[in-house]
Assembly symmetry: C2
Homo-oligomer: 325 residues x 2
């Protein structure tokens, strides 16, 4: 059984071996660029961990892990175009480093390459199941991205809708990937389903943590600008819960702030944070996050594997969710 | 055995039944829009024809036919963004009717939906083969699109490279789709390969005919503006063959025209057409087109099916390639 660091190294060597060398160069250069830009490789590593819950010879899950990382990067490339984002992991985004058309077309071929790698999975009889799961997963990711864009222009969004959106946009990919690991390891239907539940709940908790960090994070440790969500009037869990808990005066005030353009970003962050604090929103968000985390750990507990094999997943998930505030 | 008109109707009813009704509306409305915008449905109909070469119950090939049409429309949506095309089949393109982000994301989900429909093919054991073929095919389409974009800025393109580009960009999809029809009909490896060869060669001939029509078409019958390729300095077979056949003075002249911006489009078309005529370029293009057409018909002849079942394919192909000049 490989530990987390070894799994990551194993994946990184596979990534290196699969550097695309064939023409047309302008199509594949951006693919290599984004795939080799770094990142924690959380999704492929967790897929490999899911495999290791049930079997050895983790190399068998490498093509699927690569497919998941490829899909994730495809979605980053296209999302960055839609969001007009200039930077990704501190480097120019694909459409900035190359151009928009390159971003669209290279993204497209990455989505196809993800399927292509799925089909390299050694156990032929599993491939169909993987493709089916991959389809359902990636449709959810697109739907989640659309919901996210829809929310920007909608005046009201319920918390239920918000949780569905982040489930689709973030949790589905982690859950789909980890379930693939379980399927390749022949975990059986029930175990694969429990792995899915674990990852689905961890994915939601992860996104809630992201919402919390965006407002309450340590500026030195948080990668992005603290308060960015508030400045952009993003309808995060924090805002939606605040609107739910607030009395009508506070609700009107918060809504007004979010609908009024402002030049003084710091003042806006301070005001909104003040409202959040009055309503104990941080505690509310932590509470919900912990609820999802504990559902995740319950699912993990129930599945047939050893404590030793579950430990790296508990550690990884705790790190993801408990990132410094 | 259904005739061409019946096959098209069958496909159109399937299309209607599969109108997407689920949310998010903004994601799927553009998908329905482009899928229902019309068109000859050449690719799905020819896939169904390929199936009918070898088997009855053509309904079994409908999900794959739908997948091919979905993929084709995905590529139109993204290509139209890249080409900044305002119109498609006389109606606003998706990114014009909606917006660019919608075009990107709805295109993405269409590509996934294509895989999703492939997996609906009834004969489970065939699905893996279909996905594998679909991967290889769609990677070629992306590579062809990239080559086409590369050619715009390259000073020299060989005819061999041009043929490879149109094979990938146009013929691969027709050939992949028709081979799918053959696979679903249990045609056997050799027959499926012959169907592929037929469609591959027809696809190239079809594109050469398109090049010819763009310069020599009847303005009343040709959908687009006659002479558009010349105005845009597109490196079509006509130009590339002219550069190959011309003496050095004419070659320099033609290269100069193509590198000089002009406001008098009609004069430019007239001059270039004059050069083409001196070099008998139209006859050259017809000759090459006929070569591919005859390779196609030879492949069709060799495969195990009845004359009756081959007839609609011969008719359809002849129509596609012999469209009014």
């Amino acid at each position: 059984m490989l530990n987390t660091e070894n799994l990551r190294d194993l994946f990184l060597s596979y990534l290196k071996e699969n550097h695309i060398k064939r023409p047309p160069e302008k199509l594949y250069q951006p693919v290599n660029y984004i795939m080799e830009l770094g990142g924690k490789r959380m999704r492929p590593v967790m897929l490999l961990m899911a495999y290791q819950l049930f079997a050895n010879e983790v190399e068998k899950a490498l093509p699927a892990a690569y497919a998941i990382e490829m899909f994730h990067n495809f979605s980053l490339v296209h999302d960055d175009i839609m969001d007009e984002a200039p930077l990704r992991r501190g480097k120019p985004t694909v459409h900035k480093a190359f151009d928009m058309n390159t971003g669209i077309l290279s993204g497209d071929v990455m989505l196809i390459l993800a399927y292509d790698y799925l089909m390299k999975t050694e156990v032929a009889e599993k491939r169909l199941e993987l493709v089916q799961l991959f389809n359902a997963m990636s449709i959810k990711v697109c739907e989640g991205q659309q919901m996210d864009m829809d929310f920007e222009t909608r005046s009201e969004v319920s918390i239920e809708e918000y949780i569905r959106m982040i489930s689709y946009k973030t949790a589905a990919l982690l859950a789909g990937g980890m379930k693939m690991g379980a399927i390749i390891a022949d975990a059986g239907v029930d175990n694969a389903q429990l792995v899915y539940e674990f990852a689905w709940n961890i994915g939601i908790a992860f996104q809630l943590q992201d919402d919390i960090l965006d407002t309450y994070g340590d500026p030195e440790k948080f990668g992005k600008k603290v308060g960015g969500d508030i400045v952009q009037n993003k309808k995060t869990y924090l805002v939606l819960r605040a609107l739910e808990l607030a009395d009508s005066v506070t609700r009107t005030h918060l809504t007004e702030i979010m609908n009024t353009p402002t030049k003084d970003e710091l003042a806006k962050i301070k005001t909104v944070k003040g409202l959040f604090n009055k309503l104990n929103i941080r505690r509310e968000a932590e509470y919900l996050k912990n609820k999802y985390q504990s559902s995740a750990f319950q699912a993990l507990e129930r599945l047939d594997s050893s404590e030793e094999r579950k430990a790296p997943l508990i550690e990884m998930a705790s790190q993801l969710i408990g990132r410094d505030v």
